[in-house]
């Protein structure tokens, strides 16, 4: 029955003759392992056709969907990663097999007459295969493919005369976009495979016409293709397949033997980087490994030489081999040539890899992009899919992806994050090749207990990773005079008693707890209470802890900072809500705001929101990232869409917090920035938005119990005191008028600034908390110092905003009075001369 059917079929098709020709090709000298390379190449190509066609069914070439569809193949479709893995590694296997095939052909002299034309066709097939690799690299539209292919198409664009037209034809316009992908895809899946099939058919046909080239006449019996050679070919193809399967799954296999690696996170099959972003630099843009030699060559020679002349000459000689082979030593030359080219390419490839392995920015970029890719996968997972605007839509709203980038672009010129620029790269000094020292604090785990402890450590605050290279340590314009904060840490905290140290540690903990940092779970828990089943920050506990910072025996924090209650007179950055998102957003937005450093205290930090350098949205992303906040799939409390903690501010008791909306702030900021740029005159408060960093609205109708900001009658203040410095200072006659006009308004009985009163002798001359007035010693007296500093110093007393500095005579009178023993008759009490 079967026989009758096959007879019938053969009669109408003649297939038996075809099969006989195909299988019973005569192999002179018998089957050999050496002959397998051509067959493995055909096998590899067929695998590529099959896997490629299936990939085609799931791939969508456009700049909005290419990466997204590849992501879906890789992570969602059944067996998708394996299919991609086979396609990816089989392509590379083809290149290796091609090299072996060419070598075998050249060594056997199979390019000689009458096989010249078939040799040339073989070279065309090699070029088509290289073209398939090049076009396929772009299709996933990830950072790697995007930037590497950009170089390739720019090379095309630099071709003399036709370059610009060629480039536009290849990328489908003057810029990368949809048509770059559609054209590359058409080339990769249509034009090149069709050409390859066409030339392959001719190649095999001509090969059969001439038969196998016997290397040398062999005594062994001739054999047929089937089954002797086919068995060998089959075994070779199986070996190729096994290698490809191993490469595809090697990370997964490795994870089975390494308990530290989670098999769920390893790359299965082919790697997929983060989506292409034209404005996101990629320092690890490299072509596929078999192009690395050409890539490396371009580092040494001009682009035209490296991309056209060298490869052109190399190919030209390959083409000429059949003719060169006729020369007496031609065959040896050809063999030597192939070996030299392969060795040269191998050496260049090795150099390229060596360079990259010793290039910190390359390594950082590889790690960083891999992290970004993993994070993007996490976000897609959380979102149950990719939004219609593409994966970048998710990425651009994620603090963990955007924070490092913003930090690198805007902060890392001065700051560091755990020693690097946010993306894992330590900026190197080009002249020494060593990491450059930061010129502002390292913000890794900013406001954490650990960070604050290091900051308040006399040994660390003057180091580069804290304030070592800021003007707070080096002094304004390098004067060497440290700021009050540094002075306190270095000169006072260093001498703390054990009790003080304990209080400081307790205070630091409370301050840090107030920041409500997501990674300090234990401390947050310690300072929390449970309300309606939810753990919330217990403000009473925090305030209780913060009192420690107020009650330190020397130099209380509240001398300069507001800590628990708003203090309009505090002239250093507010510590209310320190490290919270709101605090950070406002600080980054405008460190020169009166609630922070003011105009004078700020070092070099730009006012990012006020100047319009960053949008509120960007600052929020940055703040969330610095705080270590962000959607965490392992946290059962995190829900999607994830909303970061808006406020962790601790208001005074019985008050609620009202925040301006981000849009309002941004509008204000823009207005202010424009006004500033237009040269509007500066008012007392600058023209910054006059919202304090925290807007407190008392719950009750009663006004808050804060005194109005004291003011000084300027005319009175300047006139106070004697007209010249007398030889002997009399307190009541000479000093008292100056103090009353200039100092007591703030340093009086009601809420004295810095808790320092100058209206009564016992308080003014007390030595506890540092000697403000040390009788007989001007140098040791803080008062003598602060009244004498230049007007642009932030330590100046009285501050410029209340009319400081005093006149030269006034200053000299006070200094002389201290020098002469700071005599203050008992019972003399001072009263502030007020404005009205």
């Amino acid at each position: 029955m079967i026989k009758s059917f096959t007879n019938w079929l053969d009669d109408r098709t003649g297939y038996r003759g075809f099969v006989k020709d195909a299988l019973y090709e005569r192999i002179p000298g018998g089957a050999k392992w050496r002959y397998v390379w051509g067959s493995t190449l055909v096998f590899a190509f067929v695998v590529q056709m099959i896997t490629g066609t299936i990939l085609w069914m799931a791939y969508s070439p456009s700049s909005q969907t290419a990466w997204e569809s590849v992501y879906y193949i890789q992570h969602e479709m059944a067996g998708g990663w394996l299919l991609r893995g086979i396609h990816h590694y089989m392509a590379q296997a083809m290149i290796v097999l091609l090299a072996l095939h060419v070598m075998q052909v050249v060594i056997d002299g199979a390019y000689r007459a009458p096989r010249e034309v078939n040799f040339w066709i073989g070279i065309i097939l090699l070029l088509i295969t290289m073209g398939l690799g090049l076009t396929g690299y772009l299709l996933p539209w990830d950072q790697k493919g995007y930037w590497a292919t950009k170089v390739a198409t720019n090379i095309a664009g630099s071709t003399p005369v036709i370059g610009p037209y060629l480039q536009k034809l290849v990328i489908g316009g003057s810029d990368y976009g949809h048509h770059t992908l559609t054209r590359f895809f058409a080339l990769h899946a249509g034009v090149l495979p069709a050409a390859l099939i066409g030339f392959l058919v001719i190649h095999v046909y001509v090969f059969r016409r001439h038969g196998i080239t016997a290397h040398k006449p062999e005594a062994k019996r001739n054999a047929h293709f089937w089954p002797d050679q086919i068995l060998r070919d089959g075994v070779a193809c199986l070996a190729v397949l096994l290698v490809v399967l191993f490469l595809s799954s090697r990370h997964w296999i490795g994870a089975q033997f390494d308990p530290d690696v989670d098999p769920a996170t390893v790359t299965l099959g082919a790697d997929l980087g983060p989506p292409a972003e034209p404005t996101e630099n990629y320092d690890a843009a490299r072509p596929e490994w078999y192009y690395l030699s050409l890539y490396q060559l371009l580092k040494y020679v001009p682009e035209f030489v490296g991309a056209f002349i060298v490869p052109g000459v190399a190919l030209g000689i390959l083409f000429l081999m059949p003719i060169l082979g006729k020369w007496k030593l031609g065959h040896r030359f050809n063999i030597a040539y192939v070996v030299i080219v392969l060795l040269g390419a191998g050496a260049l490839t090795g150099l390229a890899i060596y360079d990259d392995q010793n290039n910190p920015s390359f390594k950082a970029a590889v790690t960083h992009t891999s992290d970004v890719a993993q994070r993007t996968f996490t976000l897609i997972d959380a979102n149950d899919g990719i939004p219609v605007e593409g994966a970048t839509g998710l990425m651009h709203n994620d603090p963990q992806i955007m924070g490092p980038r913003l930090f690198r672009e805007h902060c890392a010129a001065c700051h560091r994050y755990d020693g690097h620029d946010g993306t894992g790269y330590e900026p190197l000094d080009p002249s020494t090749g060593k990491p450059t020292e930061p010129s502002a604090a390292d913000l890794y785990q900013f406001a954490s207990v650990e960070w604050l402890t290091a900051f308040l450590d006399p040994d660390q605050i003057t180091k580069p990773h804290m304030w070592g290279n800021t003007r707070f340590v080096k002094g304004k314009d390098g004067s060497g005079k440290p700021s009050r904060m540094v002075d306190v840490v270095v000169n006072h905290i260093a001498k703390y008693s054990e009790d003080d140290k304990k209080m400081l540690a307790h205070g630091i903990e409370a301050l840090s707890a107030g920041a409500d940092l997501p990674y300090q779970a234990e401390i947050n828990k310690k300072y929390s209470k449970v309300v309606e089943g939810k753990q919330v920050l217990d403000r009473d506990k925090v305030a209780e802890g913060l009192f420690n910072l107020e009650d330190l025996s020397k130099k209380s924090c509240t001398d300069c900072h507001e800590l628990i209650d708003p203090d309009p007179g505090a002239d250093s950055p507010t510590l209310i809500g320190y490290g919270s998102k709101e605090w950070l957003v406002k600080f980054i937005g405008d460190p020169e705001h009166a609630k922070f450093y003011g105009d004078k205290g700020n070092d070099r930090m730009p006012s990012y929101a006020r100047d319009g350098q960053l949008t509120t949205k960007q600052i929020e992303l940055l703040a969330d990232w610095i705080r270590g906040d962000g959607y965490d799939p392992k946290n059962p409390k995190h829900k999607w869409p994830w909303v970061p903690k808006a406020v962790a501010y601790i208001p005074p008791k019985d008050t609620t917090v009202e925040m301006k909306s981000a849009d309002d702030i941004e509008a204000d900021n823009r207005k202010a920035a424009k006004a500033k740029a237009a040269g509007a005159p500066k008012t007392d408060n600058g023209n910054k938005p006059d919202t304090p960093p925290t807007v407190d609205k008392p719950d009750t109708t009663d006004p808050p119990d804060t005194p109005p900001t004291p003011t000084i009658n300027l005319a009175e203040a300047k006139k106070a005191g004697p007209a010249e410095v007398p030889d002997t200072i009399d307190f009541v006659k000479h000093v008292q008028p100056i103090f009353e006009a200039n100092c007591v308004a703030c340093h009086g009985p009601v809420k004295p600034k810095g808790k320092y009163r100058m209206d009564i002798k016992s308080e003014a001359l007390k030595t506890q908390g540092g000697g403000n007035i040390v009788p007989g010693d001007v140098e040791e007296s803080w008062l003598a110092f602060v009244i004498s500093v230049p007007a642009d110093e932030d330590d100046l007393m009285p501050p410029t905003k209340v009319g400081g500095p005093m006149t030269k005579v006034q200053i000299d009178v006070i200094r002389k009075w201290i020098e002469q023993g700071a005599k203050w008759p008992d019972g003399v009490e001072l009263k502030a001369k007020k404005d009205d």
């Binding site: 370059g163 034809l169 003057s174 371009l298 682009e303």
Partner: protein
């Protein structure tokens, strides 16, 4: 099976007669020529017409079109950020250029289309470079000393954009020209404005594309 009735084996079938060839020799030579010419013309038409239609679409990116000319004239200054962001010490500041981007059939409003570095020169004026390396288009990055380096083929450029003849690796910079300067000015509102352009890479001359 109808055309192979009852025959158990194929050899039993009568051999197929060879096809009867038309004896063209007997035709008049002029008619033969006419047929050949006609076949060539018909063949050419059926091949060339669809191929030409395809060629037009294929060549579309290099076919000049009216809209492009208009857009070219419209290449205008784009605000990229506040002047205050540019440091006084001559260090470059990176701005992302945002504009509407036509990508074939998609119109994207206000998206990042490229990045530029803006710095102050010694005389205090602004200088702007495109971040695209003039060698082969990778994105250059600034170094702590204000110079620029390309991550791909290690070209290095001085802070003023000129080529550093010898790179920090002791190699020769392969780029044939310095960083491409862009027209820059300051708006009355204190914003940096850039005329954002792209240039042909890999050649010594600066040619806008």
């Amino acid at each position: 099976m109808s055309d192979a009735p009852d025959s158990p084996t194929d050899p039993a079938l009568p051999p197929t007669p060879p096809p009867q060839l038309v004896n063209t020799d007997s035709e008049p030579p002029r008619r033969g020529f006419l047929y050949k010419a006609l076949a060539a013309v018909v063949g050419a038409i059926v091949v060339v017409v669809p191929a030409a239609a395809g060629l037009f679409v294929f060549a579309d990116p290099i076919v000049p079109r009216k809209k492009d000319d208009e857009e070219e004239q419209e290449t205008d200054f784009i605000e990229v950020g506040p002047v205050s962001a540019v440091p006084d010490n001559g260090a470059p500041h990176k701005f992302v250029v945002r504009a509407d981007l036509t990508d074939a059939w998609t119109m994207r409003r206000d998206v990042a289309i490229g990045s530029v570095y803006v710095r102050r020169t010694e005389d205090g004026s602004l200088q702007a470079f495109t971040a695209s390396c003039p060698h082969l288009g990778c994105a250059v990055s600034p170094k702590p000393d204000g110079s620029f380096g390309c991550p791909c083929h290690d070209s290095e450029f001085n802070p003023d954009g000129t080529i550093k003849p010898v790179t920090s690796n002791g190699m020769k910079t392969v780029s044939l020209r310095g960083l491409d300067e862009l027209d820059v000015d300051e708006s009355p509102e204190g914003m940096v404005r850039i005329r954002f352009q792209k240039f042909r890479s890999g050649i010594a001359e600066k040619v806008a594309v």
